[in-house]
């Protein structure tokens, strides 16, 4: 029998959803606004999309952001996986507590502090050894890697402790050398965690404004930096169009992920039934 739903709970749900999605909805609607002033409706138009695709500035900022995000995600996943392996698999080593603390510190460190300290580091390094000569894509990428790898390490560590050590022991017991065990057992099992870590690092980097603002140099503005500076100078509606495109991309991504998940679940159920019938 269907239970009668509580009106109170339903209205709270609606309010919450409205709170989350009305701003996005408004943004999408206003991206089709003809008027040059963001908050005044001037009829339906796609002129801002045209102007968006013609805007050199926005495209180069987007490309820069994507480049940084991809390189960052890749390096952060590599280093973070190594750190996670050390955290989860090397039980006792000298300075373990210190290492654990230092790995997770960037997670709780205010971004302003991280950004400022990295800026100081780059300036000092530039004075001492002449590198980095000027700040830009390299320094932003390095800064992003330093904090993203902490997130990856945490994901990998929890995934590893979830998998447990028994499978690796079983492989050793069957005569596999430790490197083989790593390649044939640990890494394949870790792959979903590494993918999750990569995606998280990618998103974090694409999202970051504060740290990038500290360590970037002239001529290298990431997309969040560009949007923020536009807001300060007065918003042009082509930013709305850009935001709509981003929302669309994210929505498609989420839909695909959901579709894959549902398919996997159905497959699992079929498998379970198959195993159960015998």
């Amino acid at each position: 029998m269907p239970k009668k739903r509580s009106t109170f709970l339903l209205s709270v749900l609606c309010f919450g959803m409205a709170f989350l999605y009305i701003p996005m909805f408004l943004l999408i609607v206003y991206s089709f606004n003809y008027s040059k002033i963001v908050s005044v409706w001037g009829g339906l138009s796609t002129r801002w999309y045209t102007s968006l695709f013609e805007s050199e500035e926005i495209w180069s900022a987007l490309m820069l952001s994507l480049k940084i995000a991809i390189v960052n995600a890749t390096f952060a996943t590599l280093l973070g996986t190594l750190a996670g392996l050390a955290l989860a698999r090397f039980r006792y080593f000298r300075g373990r507590t210190l290492f654990t603390g230092m790995i997770s510190a960037p997670l709780v460190m205010p971004e302003v502090i991280t950004g400022l300290s990295l800026l100081l580091l780059f300036i000092t390094l530039g004075d001492l050894i002449g590198w980095p000569e000027k700040r830009g894509i390299t320094t932003i990428t390095i800064a992003h890697i330093t904090f993203s790898l902490a997130y990856v390490a945490v994901i990998i560590e929890s995934r590893l402790s979830g998998i447990g050590e028994t499978l690796e022991e079983a492989a050793l017991d069957l005569g596999a050398k430790p490197l083989r065990v790593m390649m044939d057992i640990t890494l394949p099992l870790l792959a979903p965690g590494m993918l999750a870590g990569w995606l998280l690092a990618f998103t974090l980097s694409l999202d970051d404004l504060v740290i990038a603002s500290f360590v970037s140099g002239p001529g290298s503005s990431t997309l969040p930096m560009l949007i923020y500076s536009r807001v300060k100078l007065g918003l042009k509606p082509d930013i709305n169009a850009l935001a709509t495109m981003i929302i669309l991309a994210v929505a498609i991504g989420v839909l695909i992920a959901g579709w894959i998940l549902i398919r996997q679940q159905k497959q699992r159920q079929r498998d379970a039934q198959l195993a159960g019938t015998e």
Binding site: E169, L172, D173, L174, I185, L189, A272, G276
Partner: protein, 369 residues
């Protein structure tokens, strides 16, 4: 039938009796920085199946892991096939020991099929030989139809078979099993225990199993070592462990039973509140020594003419038999196993007699052993 260990031909058991395959010489191990195994020694001969039995936390798994090479030892040494594999700060790594282990939760590789799981230990063989070997194992374990399935698509018993097949495929010198049946339900457990036991005996595989379940231990172990607090308390056949336990702990841990107090008289009988009990052998106690006698449930016999009157306080139906918990008029608790047709309810009065021939006797309050 194929022989699964080249070093343990099954037709020459008498000769191999004398050949120790596994020798553990006085090892000690820590677990989580606390001493878990104390000066532990054990010798297993070729073709023998032995079992370490004990409550959780008694160090049995630590011993097994030390044999497999996963756990360092702090004193003593371990020899497999006359080669030292573990000594203090000198360990042969697990992958070089030729030991096959069946893990508690099977530890099948979830991303590999049954066939690939079984082939995992056969790297050194050529592709052809490997396929042959895997096919043979699949047939032997009755897994032929499931070769291309993944572990999560198999039932518990099938997973168990895959785990065993994977451990046996590389023809290890020694098979280790850590609570192999603990994830199976009761019925399957007994069935698998029997099946595995037959298979190991047939192939002459030397095997060490650890378990906390005495039924598993008795199904598989020619010899069973009862462990407590990191050491073997009694090393014996299942029969002797049940009928001639040497300490209070073993008597209590193996099988059911109660202890009743009494005094020794004339070295051959014990005066208890339930009457005089005769012993078939001379008792090594002085007259009037305060001792306790072990009464197994099958020592308490239903007899309408019996001298002891007791009330039923609990009953557990076990099919052909019913296990009763009784309380005598003096308040002594007894366990009794009656044939199922002697059916009583809780609170009923029952007459019983004691039918004990071999007395198992300990000093009173010897609980601390």
């Amino acid at each position: 039938m194929k022989q699964y260990s080249p070093n343990s031909p099954r037709h020459s058991l008498p000769r191999s009796e004398a050949e120790p395959l596994l020798e553990i010489r006085g090892i000690s191990c820590n677990y989580d920085l606390e001493r878990a195994v104390f000066d532990f020694s054990l010798t297993v001969h070729r073709g023998e199946q032995v079992c370490l039995l004990g409550p959780s936390g008694c160090g049995k798994t630590t011993v097994l892991r030390a044999i497999a090479g996963f756990h360092p030892i702090l004193t003593g040494s371990i020899l497999i096939n006359d080669q030292q594999v573990s000594a203090v700060k000198n360990m042969v790594p697990p992958e070089a020991r030729r030991v096959g282990m069946v893990f508690q939760d099977h530890a099948l590789f979830p991303h590999l099929t049954v066939r690939e799981n079984i082939a995992a230990g056969l790297d050194q063989l050529s592709a052809g030989l490997r396929g042959e070997s895997v096919g043979e194992m699949l047939d032997r374990m009755g897994l032929g139809h499931h070769a291309d399935r993944y572990p999560h698509e198999l039932s518990g018993g099938q997973q168990q078979r895959v785990a065993l097949a994977r451990a046996l495929a590389p023809k290890p010198l020694l098979l280790l099993m850590d609570e192999p049946f603990s994830s199976l339900d009761q019925e399957l457990r007994e069935h698998m225990g029997q099946e595995v036991s037959d298979m190991l005996k047939e192939s002459g595989t030397t095997c060490v199993m650890v378990t906390h379940d005495q039924n598993d231990a008795f199904a598989l172990g020619d010899k069973v070592g009862v462990m407590s607090e990191g050491a073997i308390v009694q090393w014996d056949t299942p029969y002797n462990l049940y009928h001639q336990p040497q300490t209070h702990f073993v008597a209590d841990f193996i099988g059911n039973g109660v202890f009743i107090n009494g005094q020794c008289e004339d070295k051959k009988q014990v005066n208890t509140s339930l009457g005089m009990l005769q012993s078939d052998i001379a008792l090594d106690w002085s007259n009037d020594a305060d001792i306790e006698v072990l009464l197994r449930p099958d020592d308490v016999v239903y007899d309408p003419e019996g001298p002891i009157i007791a009330k039923v306080t609990r009953r557990a139906f076990k099919g052909a038999q019913i296990m009763y918990t009784l309380r005598t008029l003096d308040g002594v608790k007894l366990l009794a196993l009656f044939p199922s047709h002697a059916n009583f309810g809780i609170g009923d009065e029952v007459r019983v007699r004691l039918d004990v021939d071999h007395l198992v006797v300990f000093e009173q309050n010897s609980v601390v052993d």
